[in-house]
């Protein structure tokens, strides 16, 4: 859909709202999915709200989806001169206070918290095991009864429990901060647990399920469609839409869809995109492009999805200047269920190169490489530091 020149808004303008929370039809030339938005906004859903909903679940997502983002807001760094650091007197006073307080009360256990003092904002969606975060995406202290420990690598910022966290801690977390109403009725989040099995220190167990690996050089991989058998984390939200994206990795070559299954079309692609299921939207877009390589809409959608997913994975991984190293022995590596692309990427990890360097030399798209690195970190095959 094209707008006349005089109707075209300034790129830097933020999306405007019209009564009832409906977003006014906004398009800029660069908004490649402008057409999709209009259809969906006008006819079916409040796209912005839907997408915000998706983003609120994923606290690591750094930016809004393309159609909602205008120019990124650049935060003006504040000069240190305007911030008064602690002076010597204040430091002295703090130390004195600490001495007094500790003398008058028994010492706190390491990591002990003061009671819940700050209520999470109403519009911030989180599950019981989610740590609330502030506007800088940092955990807000005092809001959770669970000791906020620095997030170790491999611990997802998604609403999943750390795989090694003690169960009682998780239970405690679950009880202490009830999930807001209206967020519990998401069956997908509660059922898909098999992809985040409980951590098992045995790399063989971590890598594959019994009977799937053979030491003769072949690794049979369980198809992704296999039903979940593991109930260790059944209360944990294991659904991660990102891990469903793009080319299958652990599943190697994805099984061909049954011939009887109807082909996904542009409408489904648009719907997936609108609700923030960029992985599925991309998958459909690629299917469409495989059939009709000149399909402009699918191409635009695929590109937008890739951009968003790349951002999301990058945010999950954290700073890309972290050095990546393999934390298991070469003998253990071969017991993992990887495809050749992950195997290749793993071969590039030398304990000296940063994530950014690995991305540069991987020869894959940034998205694919990020996805593999993310998966390897989740499975504790590699570590970032």
């Amino acid at each position: 859909m094209e707008l006349d020149d005089d109707e075209k808004p300034d790129k830097s303008d933020p999306p405007k709202r019209e009564g009832g929370g409906k977003r006014k039809a906004v398009s800029v030339k660069d908004d490649l999915l402008g057409d999709i938005e209009f259809d969906l906004i006008d006819e079916e859903v409040d796209t912005e709200d839907t997408i915000n909903d998706v983003f609120a679940r994923d606290t690591a997502i750094p930016a809004a989806a393309p159609q909602l983002s205008s120019e990124p807001e650049v935060e003006e760094p504040v000069s240190a001169e305007t911030i008064r650091p602690f002076d010597e007197d204040e430091i002295e006073q703090g130390l004195k206070l600490a001495t007094e307080l500790s003398a008058s009360s028994p010492p706190l256990r390491s990591g002990q918290h003061t009671p819940l003092a700050v209520e999470p904002p109403d519009d911030l969606e989180f599950d019981s095991f989610d740590e609330p975060i502030d506007q800088f995406e940092q955990p807000i202290p005092l809001t959770n009864a669970v000791t906020p420990r620095p997030r170790r690598f491999g611990q997802s910022e998604m609403p999943t429990a750390p795989p090694v966290a003690p169960r009682d801690l998780l239970e405690q977390a679950k009880r202490s901060v009830p999930a807001p109403l209206g967020r519990r009725d998401r069956p997908a989040f509660m059922t898909e647990t098999a992809r985040n099995p409980a951590y098992n220190p045995d790399p063989r167990a971590r890598a594959t399920r019994p009977g799937t690996s053979t030491p003769n050089g072949r690794v049979a991989v369980i198809p992704r469609s296999e039903p979940a058998k593991d109930s260790a984390l059944d209360f944990v939200d294991g659904f991660d839409p990102l891990l469903d994206s793009l080319a299958p990795m652990s599943g190697l070559d994805a099984p061909e869809p049954p011939a009887s299954k109807p082909r996904a079309g542009p409408k489904e692609m648009q719907e997936c995109y609108a609700v923030g299921d960029f992985s599925r939207a991309l998958s459909i877009a690629e299917e469409i492009l495989a059939r009709s390589p000149d399909d402009a809409l699918a191409r635009r959608c695929a590109q937008n999805c890739r951009d968003v997913l790349t951002q999301m994975f990058a945010a999950r991984i954290g700073p890309l200047d972290q050095v990546i190293s393999v934390v298991i022995s070469p003998e253990e590596v071969q017991w993992l269920a990887l495809d050749h692309r992950a195997g290749f990427l793993l071969s590039l990890v030398d304990g000296q190169s940063t994530v950014d360097e690995i991305l540069d030399i991987s020869g894959m798209t940034r998205l694919d490489a990020l996805k593999i690195i993310f998966d390897l970190t989740e499975r504790q095959v590699v570590r970032l530091a």
């Binding site: 935060e75 760094p77 504040v78 000069s79 240190a80 001169e81 911030i83 008064r84 650091p85 602690f86 204040e90 430091i91 703090g94 130390l95 206070l97 600490a98 001495t99 307080l101 500790s102 010492p107 706190l108 990591g111 002990q112 918290h113 003061t114 940092q138 202290p141 005092l142 000791t147 906020p148 620095p150 050089g217 072949r218 690794v219 049979a220 991989v221 198809p223 599943g251 190697l252 070559d253 099984p255 200047d321 070469p330 590596v333 071969q334 990887l338 495809d339 050749h340 692309r341 992950a342 195997g343 290749f344 071969s347 590039l348 190169s353 540069d360 030399i361 991987s362 020869g363 940034r366």
Partner: protein, 608 residues
């Protein structure tokens, strides 16, 4: 006194060395390696990669990775070497505006000296990081067969990289210097140089007067360690195909891994008798399974696979000695250069052919750079006994009737120099002569390098052989060759000044210098930012770690609440400065972070 670095700008690997406490030392790069692959790549995002990181993606990003640029430097577009490179290179080679060669990476065209300058710049950075001071002067080595244009192009590459190349020296000469040869006694030696991509054998006559005369040099610019690697790759691919009926060559990622593994195995087999090659998940079959490659390679197998390559080097040695009209027994020393010479089978073959144990006291990968560093130090220290004299690398002369090359200034003549010869007309009533100035040793002028040409007109009409023309070649201290032709009867004269050229104009070079400077500034800025960020992030992480405990101790008091609020502000602003990517801004916040951390640590320690 300024430090001069010695750089071995190799076809496949480069090395930088410097004199420290009167001894030459090789400077390791950031990865701890003493040699750096002479590879340059541009990523999809437009980022420049140089060295090991470029090598690691050389196959997966083959179109945008330049290797062996040295084979192209200083060559003309129509030269046979370029025609050959057009057939074999994975990157795009295009014709430049001055009959030179350009390399296209991600739609941007680079001259060959520009590519080499990126490698030299990397060497410069490695040296500067090690020495902690700027480096601006260097001695760079080139193969003995390089002509003036190739040498000038190498010099230009240094200039673009911000280096004043105070001397270009021959690689075998540098190797001899590193062995301390030629200091007092005259002797004839052979330098057997098998590198990553080229093989050179040079016969040198060393004299205590400082002239290292290259009596003969020959080689194969397409024979080196890579060919040995390729044999191992073939062996692996063949074995895998037999077992699984899958051709691993069809997958770039698999091929990259095979190449890396082959090189590693080859190096290991120089010290052990067998090695395991283990490449898990080398390829997916499309049937929901990934295959591993696991094989054991023995030294005997490797030697069997590469026997013909080793024999080829011996054949070339035989040719070189033939050119020098020498027998192996006439040689008083044999020096091994290049990483491949660590292979026991090569050492054995060299020992057998030359009938003497080769000299291998200096690390073969480093010996050339060490020699260059020694020479650089001698030049700035003004140690006359160590300074090599500047000589003409190749003979200079003109083409005469029948495409014959008439030599005026022989190879290895020290400069400045001047030589004159008289020629006559070759046809009756000839009124003009064309003087073709050439460089080389081949009697057939067409096989030598054309440096320039001019015409002398106004000759008297006379039978052939009657009119005499005096031709004078003059080389000044700057290496500029002037050629004068004079009709001895009429005094009519014509001249030409031949300056070696890399194919770049001065304007182009100036522009490239500026671009290289910008790159360096950008890179240094990035490094500065990374250092500041790391410092700040360490403090932030420590403060965050302590925050809950501090909160537990002082959070209930008003002062504590204020202090915690302030600490949060400090953290937020420090993070904002990191996001803004300003090293100076981050450093402004480091003091605040350090104070916060100090207080937090104190609070926690007192509370325990």
């Amino acid at each position: 006194m300024e430090t001069v670095i010695g750089i071995d700008l190799g076809t496949t690997n480069s090395c930088v060395a410097v004199m420290e406490n009167s001894a030459p030392v090789v400077i390791p790069n950031r990865g701890g390696y003493k040699t750096t692959p002479s590879m340059v790549a541009v990523t999809e995002a437009g980022k420049r990669l140089v060295g090991h990181i470029a090598k690691r993606q050389a196959i997966t990003n083959a179109e945008n990775t330049v290797y062996a640029a040295k084979r192209l430097i200083g060559r003309k577009w129509n030269s046979p070497q370029i025609k050959n490179a057009l057939l074999t290179s994975s990157y795009h080679i295009a014709e430049g505006p001055h009959d030179d060669v350009r390399i296209v990476l991600r739609d941007k065209s680079y001259s060959v000296p520009e590519i080499s300058s990126m490698i030299l710049q990397e060497m410069k950075i490695i040296a500067e990081d090690y020495l902690g001071q700027p480096v601006t002067q260097a001695v760079v080595t080139v193969p003995a067969y390089f002509n003036d244009n190739q040498r000038q192009a190498t010099k230009d590459a240094g200039t673009i990289a911000g280096l004043d190349v105070i001397r270009i020296i021959n690689e075998p000469t540098a190797a001899a210097l590193a062995y301390g040869l030629g200091k007092e006694i005259d002797r004839v030696i052979a330098v057997y140089d098998l590198g990553g991509g080229t093989f050179d054998i040079s016969i040198l006559e060393l004299s205590s007067t400082g002239v290292f005369k290259v009596i003969a040099t020959t080689g194969d610019t397409f024979l080196g360690g890579e060919d040995f690697d390729a044999r191992i790759v073939d062996w692996l691919v063949h074995g895998f195909q037999q077992e699984h009926d899958i051709d691993l060559r069809q997958d770039r990622m698999a091929l990259q891994r095979l190449r890396d593994a082959a090189e590693k195995a080859k190096c290991e087999l120089s010290s052990v008798r067998e090695t395991d090659i283990n490449l898990p998940f080398i390829i997916s079959t499309g049937r929901n399974e990934a295959l591993h490659l696991q094989r054991t390679l023995t030294r005997e197998t490797l030697e069997g696979l590469t026997l013909d390559l080793i024999e080829r080097t011996v054949e070339i040695c035989r040719d070189a000695l033939g050119d020098a009209r020498l027998d192996p027994k006439d040689l008083e020393d044999v020096i091994l250069v290049g990483g491949m010479t660590r292979m026991p089978a090569i050492q054995k073959a060299v020992s057998e052919y030359f009938a003497r144990t080769p000299n291998k006291g200096v690390h073969p990968d480093e010996v050339v750079a060490l020699g260059a560093a020694i020479q650089g130090h001698a030049l700035v220290e003004d140690k006359n006994d160590m300074i090599l004299l500047d000589v003409t690398p190749h003979a200079l002369g003109i083409m005469t009737f029948g495409s014959h090359f008439e030599e005026l200034i022989p190879q290895n003549t020290t400069v400045p120099t001047s030589r004159t010869k008289v020629f006559t007309t070759s046809r009756d009533n000839q009124t003009a002569v064309k003087i073709l100035v050439m460089q080389g040793e081949n009697d057939n002028a067409e096989k030598n390098e054309l440096l320039g040409e001019f015409i002398l007109t106004g000759l008297r009409r006379a039978p052939k052989g009657e009119v005499e023309i005096e031709v004078t070649f003059e080389i000044n201290t700057d290496g500029i060759v002037s050629v004068f032709a004079k009709d001895l009867e009429t005094g009519q004269a014509q001249s030409i000044q031949v300056t070696a050229t890399s194919g770049l104009t001065q304007d182009e070079i100036n522009h490239m210098i500026e671009t290289a400077k910008d790159y360096l500034v950008e890179r240094r800025t990035d490094e500065d930012f990374e250092a500041a960020k790391q410092e700040a992030e360490t403090l932030i992480a420590e403060i965050e770690r302590l925050f809950p405990e501090v909160e537990g101790v002082v959070g209930s008091s008003d002062f504590g609440q204020d202090a915690l609020g302030k600490a949060r502000t400090v953290l937020e602003h420090a993070r904002a400065a990191i996001d803004a990517r300003g090293a100076a801004q981050i450093r402004q916040h480091v003091d605040g972070l350090a104070r916060t951390q100090r207080m937090f640590k104190g609070v926690v320690s007192r509370a325990q």
